[in-house]
């Protein structure tokens, strides 16, 4: 079942969000993750992908600089989700496409599109409805190509790179420290090695002086 739908522009400007039936904190959490996801999307990103995130799957589709996201339960067929995204992207493109890319677009300025979202959502609600079965059966939307990733990988990939660079720089400073310390230890070892020899030879010299020069 489709829980929530979000439409964003490439520059992370929200255009429309569905009015959702439940206020489950887990879902609210997913929406927050979606926001981070949007900020990570670059022109080189996959045009469509599924991201596994906890109890939910996040499906997204990018069409002409607009990102369509839906949050579904894990059990909801991917094919249906993408066919839903296709449908809303066509409709949004037709009704608000140019307006949404203009400079005057305001955050959530297309909330009237929610009417279409809720209607379409209802059609896709029932997985067994005849039309939906047809959609499942035909291979028009070949979602096998769609990449699946885990949200953790996506969200924390950047973080781990940062962590790597942190690690390497701390490694560098540590190694410098170790080098200095090693030099000092070497010196100490040297001193410790030669101190007895020097001592014995001094005593020997004293004895010689005592024995030979006293007279």
């Amino acid at each position: 079942m489709i829980q929530s739908t979000l439409i964003y522009r490439y520059d992370a400007l929200p255009l429309c969000g569905s009015v959702d039936d439940n206020n489950d904190p887990a879902l609210v959490d997913q929406k927050k993750k979606c926001k981070i996801l949007i900020s990570r999307i670059t022109p080189n990103s996959e045009p469509q992908a599924t991201i596994e995130s906890g109890e939910y799957n996040i499906h997204y589709l990018i069409a002409s600089s607009i990102i369509y996201i839906c949050i579904c339960e894990k059990s909801y067929p991917r094919k249906l989700a993408f066919s839903y995204l296709q449908e809303i992207s066509h409709e949004f493109q037709n009704s608000h496409g140019t307006e949404a890319l203009g400079s005057t677009a305001r955050p959530f300025g297309f909330s009237s599109f929610d009417n279409f979202l809720s209607k379409t959502k209802k059609i896709y609600q029932d997985q067994r409805a005849q039309s939906n079965l047809d959609k499942l059966n035909n291979d028009l939307a070949d979602v096998k190509k769609v990449m699946t990733k885990n949200i953790e990988d996506l969200l924390y990939r950047g973080d781990s790179l940062d962590k790597m660079s942190d690690l390497s720089s701390s490694l560098k400073s540590d190694s410098l420290k170790y080098r200095r310390r090693a030099q000092r230890i070497n010196l100490e070892a040297l001193i410790r090695q030669y101190i007895p020899v020097v001592g014995v030879s001094l005593i020997f010299l004293f004895l010689i002086w005592y024995m030979f020069l006293r007279r």
Partner: protein, 930 residues
């Protein structure tokens, strides 16, 4: 300059420019002459001037000084205004304050050598004087009888600000008009002890909206989504900031922190054009709306939702409430704000069961689903209960037409309001919105069940307030707080003919920013009742409400918001939460002075973050700048009596509910005594021992009569009042905006029998045609009203016709000895005792048939017409007593009660056990002399 003057306008801590450092004194404030002569005509002028200053500055020091002077209102100038006309060239002072000015001239002398500072200097010699604040005039209350009621419609004492206190010089629109934002004191004391000594309260009255519809209000909206705020105090950029560092940064007028000017103020990235930052609306207007960027949205703006909870028990059906309401909703469907076509509606019918209406979305026909389990109410269907208005319009219309017929033959006396509210909450809690309840029955089933309270035994006794006016069931308050957190507002329309416990039920709207509307003994058999209810419900539904709103008021450092009054929930220390923001209420915020204020002007700013009814997230910001003074007479001369009355009304309500009604009345009287005492001790010139004790500044002279009238008001009077009426009156007192509140406390009376000929007709203005020089008459649409009279029988003639407007009803008083011709003209009959009395309407005659009738109706129409309130006033026709009236008339109990009711509006007279205003003044004399 006297030392006290200097204390009043001390050197501000932040104005420590190089000039000050050298001078070691307060810089002479001045208006730049150059600027004075040349009316501000756009930013270019200012810029040119600035450039001139900078170019000429070959001396670094001078350039810096000049720079310090120039940026945005010339930081220092702002502190002290000049008395115009004392300008002298060359640094020689002729000002009356010569000693001081000469010092200044000496300080400025070195600067004179550099061309850069010539403007500065010219202005500088424009001798300085302290801000001429409002003058104090004293009035003897006991000689001013009857009180001059024209004062009630006067604006508050003007706010005297230094001429260059705004960023845009001499801006007319920089300071909020009193309709939006007014302070009880238009001169703020510089420290807390002075405020305490003055015995005047310090509070702000905020009314963020001044019309029910967006289109009736002209509020500027920013062009982009840039919201520039101070990093420390989070204040919004406003017309009172100052610019610094070549206009790259702005100094917050609340906390003095320097903030960056956003690049979009100067340069439009999208179109690549350079913009003029001085043209931005937020720097020009005191009331602006910022379009909020996405950071201000916790979730997408939600659609507007109305859930109608309709009483369908036998009381409601028989009184005609169910039928009237469904018809009214049907007729108002087009008026519901629905620009986006996203509005959603739901209907629940309530008796001892809950009746849900399930729509087959997009298709015709509805199912009625009845749930009789009221202990654990549940939603009988996962969808189809809350539906889109636009897409289900035919089905909704059909339901509303059929609705009364479903319940025609009911005999069900139960009314399970609590469970209905809970299921309504369940239905919309994921979106938020409004629960609108129409009820004609005391809730008598399920959670929140109420019972009739024993009025007879406590009425008129001190414990009346405790037993009758407090909440009888904690369910209502806790449910209201729940609703608030899920962004739900509850509105009540109560129409019972018997006890309905308004006191308890009104908790629901109070904490959810809703409103309680009370129609005692309402019945659809009376067409006037139907008109009133349906007009008010329809206007209520058509308001352009804002959703998911929060209000926060900021003030300059040293001032703290201490208590908040009005219908909302105080979520954290200073954040007021409104699930939906109504457009017909006002709010009062009391303040305390925590630290000494050493600035000549303090600032207040109200910010309301909200989503509009068409789904845009916006912030409405209202700014107010108020001068300060350390002198008691300045403070008294600029006190705003109407705002003070508004605050004391709230405080008296608080006292009544937490203590007793007599305590509340005593509180009001003691406030008058305190103020008179302070005035007598501190401010009466010479302090002559024989002088009348009842002296007060002229701008406060209506305060005693207003507070005195308040003690006689329905909500506070000592006579027996049905507790529902009292609770409803207290509720109104606590939410009405000032103009309506004043009328509610001190009703307006018009004499119609002797009104001038032009009254009641469209106002004609005579203007002179600019081209021809001939005088032309322009007919406006504004109906001219007669001058109001005092609320006292002594000003009445026994043959007169009077109209009383107490802001909830209109009384047309036809005196007993009225000329038969007038009765004939007005009512179409010459028998005074044959005219219909009580709640009625006048017969309608055209202007040709009876000019008098036409004019009276025009006046009534004008009084009823208001675009910032939903209240529709019913007209009551009252025939006054006379010595020759037939005995059967004088024995009519209805008429007697009606006369008593109308008389109770005449607050200056002795009514029942309450004293008259003259008696009150006499009793004050003894209290003050003590």
């Amino acid at each position: 300059m006297s030392s006290s003057r200097r204390r009043a306008y001390p050197q501000p801590s932040y104005a420590s420019g190089p000039g000050n450092a050298v001078g070691g004194g307060v810089p002479v404030p001045q208006v730049n002459q150059f600027q004075q002569q040349q009316a501000y005509n756009g930013v270019d002028a200012v810029n040119r001037q600035f450039q001139g200053l900078n170019v000429g500055g070959n001396d670094a020091y001078a350039a810096r000084t000049a720079g310090g002077a120039q940026y945005g209102q010339y930081g220092q100038y702002q502190q002290q205004p000049a008395t115009p006309g004392a300008g002298v060239a060359g640094g020689v002072s002729q000002s009356p304050y010569d000693q001081y000015a000469q010092t200044q001239a000496a300080v400025q002398q070195p600067l004179a050598q550099t061309g850069a500072s010539s403007y500065y200097l010219q202005g500088n010699n424009n001798a300085a004087a302290a801000l001429p604040l409002n003058q104090l005039y004293t009035t003897d209350l006991s000689r001013e009888l009857p009180p001059p009621i024209s004062d009630l419609s006067l604006p508050p004492p003007p706010l005297v600000l230094p001429p260059n206190s705004t960023l845009i010089p001499n801006s007319e629109t920089a300071n909020a008009s009193p309709e939006y934002f007014r302070s009880t004191l238009n001169v703020i004391p510089t420290n807390g002890s002075l405020l305490k000594k003055s015995k005047l309260p310090l509070a702000l009255v905020v009314k963020p909206y001044n019309a029910l519809k967006v289109s009736d209000e002209n509020v500027k909206v920013t062009s982009d989504t840039t919201v520039s705020r101070c990093r420390r105090c989070r204040g919004y950029i406003n017309p009172f900031i100052t610019l610094a560092e070549n206009g790259r940064r702005w100094r917050c007028n609340f906390c003095n922190l320097l903030n960056d000017i956003p690049s979009s103020f100067e340069y439009d990235e999208i179109s690549g054009t350079i913009k003029n930052k001085f043209e931005r609306v937020e720097l020009n207007y005191s009331v602006v709306e910022f379009v909020a960027p996405k950071e201000y949205m916790a979730r997408a703006p939600q659609p507007i939702v109305y859930t109608f909870i309709i009483d369908v028990s036998i009381n409601a059906v028989q009184s005609g409430l169910t039928g009237t309401i469904t018809r009214t909703i049907l007729e108002s469907l087009d008026r519901i704000p629905n620009e986006n076509k996203t509005a959603r509606l739901a209907f629940i019918g309530v008796d001892s069961n809950l009746h849900y209406f399930r729509f087959n979305e997009g298709l015709d026909g509805t199912e009625v689903l009845i749930v009789s389990d009221i202990d654990e109410p549940f939603l009988p269907s996962p969808d189809g209960l809350l539906v889109n208005l636009e897409e289900n319009r035919p089905a909704i219309e059909k339901l509303l037409i059929d609705f009364p017929s479903y319940f025609e033959d009911t005999a069900n006396q139960g009314f399970a309001l609590g469970p209905a509210l809970k299921s309504g909450h369940k239905m919309i809690n994921h979106i938020g919105g409004k629960l609108i309840c129409f009820s004609a029955t005391l809730p008598n089933l399920g959670e929140g069940k109420l019972s009739v309270r024993d009025e007879a035994s406590v009425s008129g006794k001190p414990k009346e307030a405790k037993t009758l006016l407090t909440s009888a069931d904690s369910f209502y308050k806790s449910f209201a707080v729940n609703c608030n957190s899920s962004q739900i507002t509850v509105d009540l329309f109560l129409t019972s003919s018997t006890y309905q416990d308004v006191a308890t039920l009104s908790n629901l709207p109070r904490y959810t920013a809703g409103q309680t509307h009370f129609y005692p003994a309402w019945t659809s058999a009376k067409s006037e009742d139907v008109t009133k209810l349906s007009k008010e419900v329809s206007d209520h539904l058509s308001q352009d409400i804002a959703l998911e709103a929060v209000l926060r008021v900021r003030a300059s450092t040293g001032i703290r918001m201490s208590s908040f009054y009005g219908n909302f929930f105080n979520r954290s220390s200073d954040l007021c939460s409104f699930p939906t923001f109504p457009r017909d209420q006002s709010y009062v915020i009391e303040m305390s002075i925590e630290e000494n204020i050493n600035k000549p002007v303090v600032y207040f700013q109200a910010g309301i973050l909200h989503s509009t009814s068409f789904g845009e997230r916006r912030i409405r910001v209202i700014n107010l700048a108020v001068p300060t003074s350390a002198k008691l007479n300045d403070i008294y001369a600029s006190a705003d009596q109407l705002a003070i009355v508004n605050l004391y009304t709230h405080k008296a309500i608080e006292t009544a509910l937490s203590s007793t009604l007599p305590d509340a009345r005593d509180f009001l009287v003691s406030k008058v005594v305190d103020i008179l005492n302070v005035y007598k001790k501190e401010l009466v010139a010479g302090n002559v021992s024989g002088a009348s004790p009842l002296q007060l500044s002229t701008n406060l002279r209506m305060l005693p009569i207003l507070l005195f009238s308040l003690t006689k008001h329905l909500g506070f009077r000592a006579d027996r009042v049905p507790s529902d009426h009292r609770a409803a009156a207290l509720n109104n007192l606590g939410s009405l905006p000032i103009p309506y509140l004043v009328k509610y406390i001190y009703p307006t009376v018009y004499a119609l029998h002797n009104m001038p000929d032009e009254c009641g007709l469209p106002e004609k203005l005579i203007t002179t045609n600019e081209e021809t020089g001939e005088e032309e008459e322009v007919v406006t649409t504004n109906i001219l009203l007669p001058e109001p009279l005092n609320d006292s029988k002594s000003s009445w003639e026994n043959y007169g016709l009077y109209l009383i407007d107490n802001s909830s009803e209109l009384f047309l008083w036809v005196s007993g000895n009225v000329v038969p011709g007038l009765v004939e003209d007005l009512f179409g009959t010459d028998n005074l005792y044959a005219i219909p009395t009580g709640k009625t309407e006048l017969p309608e005659f055209s202007e040709e048939e009876s000019e008098f009738n036409f004019r009276v109706r025009q006046i009534i129409g004008k009084i009823r017409e208001q675009n910032d309130s939903i209240v529709w006033k019913n007209l009551y026709v009252v025939v006054g007593g006379s010595s020759n009236e037939p005995i059967e008339i004088s024995q009519q109990r209805d008429l007697m009660a009606l006369r008593m009711w109308a008389y109770s509006c005449l607050v200056e007279d002795k009514t029942g056990s309450e004293p008259s205003y003259r008696d009150f003044l006499t009793s004050l004399k003894t209290k003050v002399s003590q």
